[in-house]
């Protein structure tokens, strides 16, 4: 996997605070086994720095219901896990990424290195519209190094 810049929840949320009000989409790649710790870090940081709750869902939820992409009522920040491969879902993400962008929210897509690589290859529109691709590591393992 490509060595993307590393970040932590603290640093990422600091950027999100600065970019509040503008649409953004980050693809966050975590190492196997770190998912729960990262989600907990993100929720804690958003609550502390932005004083709002952080909803975490699966990206497959975008396919649910009549509201395709399930954007109605989405908060200013939303975490979406991509935890399994689905060709239909990737096709939907790729062709409808503009709708996510126009939702005006900040989307954080959480996934593993293997899924990220497949996703980026098969969804060129999505790749092109991503604000940034980052490797996210738990706060206590940061060692002060990452951005």
């Amino acid at each position: 996997m490509i060595d993307f810049s590393a970040t932590t929840a603290f640093r990422l949320v600091r950027r999100l605070v600065m970019g509040q009000g503008t649409a953004s989409m980050y693809l966050l790649i975590y190492d196997d086994g770190a998912q729960l710790a990262i989600e907990a870090d993100l929720q804690a940081e958003v609550e502390v720095q932005m004083a709002i709750p952080l909803p975490i869902g699966r990206v497959s939820e975008l396919l649910d219901g009549d509201d395709s992409l399930g954007l109605a009522g989405a908060g200013p920040i939303r975490v979406l896990r991509i935890d399994r491969w689905s060709r239909d879902l990737v096709a939907l993400l790729d062709t409808h990424v503009i709708r996510l962008e126009r939702a005006g929210a900040q989307f954080l897509f959480l996934t593993t290195p293997a899924l990220a690589e497949r996703l980026l290859v098969e969804a060129p529109n999505f790749r092109n519209r991503l604000t940034e691709i980052l490797r996210i590591i738990p706060d206590d393992l940061s060692g002060g190094g990452p951005h």
Binding site: F4, M18, S68, I98, R99, V121, I133
Partner: protein, 416 residues
């Protein structure tokens, strides 16, 4: 008493810039006058810009069908919006801008669906009195049924219906079709598409009778990476609009531009291509102007602005991404201005994004291109590199050419 000391808030330095780089809606982009309109056709400096050419054609040759081709992030939506804005100069203009991704799932779109969307939007443009006309009311109702589907309860006769079987008037006779020798240029229009077309005509009638200038601008179909799907819509939905006075401008997938069968040129009245923009400031200051219009001069020096332009490869969205990532890097380091280091870090981040998916075969093609060897767009691996923007298409001095994205070049060597 506490002294009144204003606290410096660095967020306020960068937020306005980020908001101008990435406004929350297209309307905001227009309201804030953030678009730098190109001053000529990107393939011909002697011709007017694409949006002017399209608007002129729609105004003078009603019923024209025009295609806009360009890679991901090349500025197709911007050109469509500029065309839309220009068309508003005439009071009788009825303009419809459709982003199909907003309306339906493009991956499961059926022939006729685009026509339905056009019909629905045309209905919104009718005067209240026209909406009350019985034929129009019925046509609109039927269109809605076709769009959303309906359930009809019928009496159960106990027999299994044969799906899709055509029953003629005489049950002892079966149809045997002998194909003609003269192959039609485009396949026959499907029956349900013709039905939708008639309903759309009915709805459009008051506008057509009052001699209105109707133009439909369709965005989103270019996001269908496989050009076959697009071809299907052109052959059905757009063809159904052919004989009306309704003009159409549609964004199309890039690969169709390189189609050996010349489908676009055969089918459409006018085809315009947006190649990657020139990033040489000696030839064009367009990319620099895009950043300056959004306030870059307040935060970075001229050299770094040129650096961003150069490493964007002339891809507008990459230019915006680079500027944004640079600003975020500067903010992260508690700096009040964007410096060379932040720009460099942004370029490398973008380059790494393009590294994803490069296997041995892709790297070989890229190396061949960098060594000035042959690069054939007909080769599927090369075509995928162009679609993914790892390789960009340019048009200079009357010639098409390809080059590896400069941000990718920056990180390619160290990744091997």
């Amino acid at each position: 008493m506490e002294p009144n000391i204003a606290t410096f808030d660095r967020r306020q330095v960068y937020r306005p810039f980020l908001e101008r780089l990435n406004p929350s809606s297209l309307l905001d982009v227009e309201a804030q006058d953030l678009i730098v309109p190109p001053d000529h056709d990107p393939r011909d400096p002697d011709q007017p810009p694409i949006h002017v050419a399209f608007a002129n054609t729609a105004e003078l040759s009603r019923g024209s069908q025009m295609a806009l081709v360009g890679g991901i992030g090349s500025g197709k939506t911007t050109e469509l919006r500029l065309t839309l804005k220009l068309l508003e100069r005439h009071a009788d203009a009825v303009n419809i801008y459709l982003d199909l991704a907003e309306l339906t799932d493009l991956n499961t779109l059926n022939p006729g669906a685009i026509l339905i969307a056009v019909g629905m939007q045309l209905h919104r443009k009718l005067k209240k009195a026209d909406k009350q006309i019985t034929e129009i009311k019925l046509a609109y109702q039927k269109l809605q049924e076709l769009a959303k589907g309906k359930t009809v309860w019928v009496e159960d006769d106990g027999e299994e219906p044969d799906e899709g079987v055509y029953e003629g008037p005489d049950p002892d006779v079966v149809a045997v079709h002998t194909p003609g020798l003269l192959k039609p240029r485009f396949p026959a229009m499907e029956r349900n598409v013709m039905e939708v077309r008639d309903l759309v005509f009915q709805i459009a009638m008051p506008l057509l009778e009052s001699d209105s200038q109707i133009t439909v601008l369709i965005d989103g179909l270019d996001r269908l990476i496989q050009p076959e799907r697009f071809r299907e819509f052109a052959e059905q939905d757009m063809r159904a609009l052919r004989k009306t006075k309704i003009s159409v401008v549609v964004a199309t997938p890039l690969l169709l531009w390189f189609d050996k069968g010349r489908f676009l040129q055969d089918y459409f009245d006018d085809v315009k291509h947006i190649p990657a923009a020139s990033f040489d400031p000696g030839k064009s200051a367009f990319l620099q102007q895009v950043l300056l219009r959004r306030g870059a001069a307040e935060l970075m020096n001229e050299k770094d602005i040129s650096g961003l332009a150069r490493f964007s490869g002339g891809v507008l969205r990459d230019l915006i991404t680079l500027a944004r990532t640079s600003a975020e890097a500067a903010y992260r380091e508690d700096k009040d201005r964007i410096a060379f280091g932040h720009v460099r870090s942004a370029i490398r981040q973008l380059g790494k994004r393009y590294l994803v998916g490069l296997g041995k075969t892709q790297r070989r093609r890229i190396q061949q291109l960098m060594d000035n060897e042959e690069f054939s767009i007909q080769d599927p691996t090369s075509a995928a590199l162009v679609v993914n923007r790892q390789v960009l298409e340019y048009f200079t001095h009357g010639l098409d050419s390809f080059a590896v994205h400069p941000a990718l070049v920056e990180v390619l060597a160290e990744s091997e």
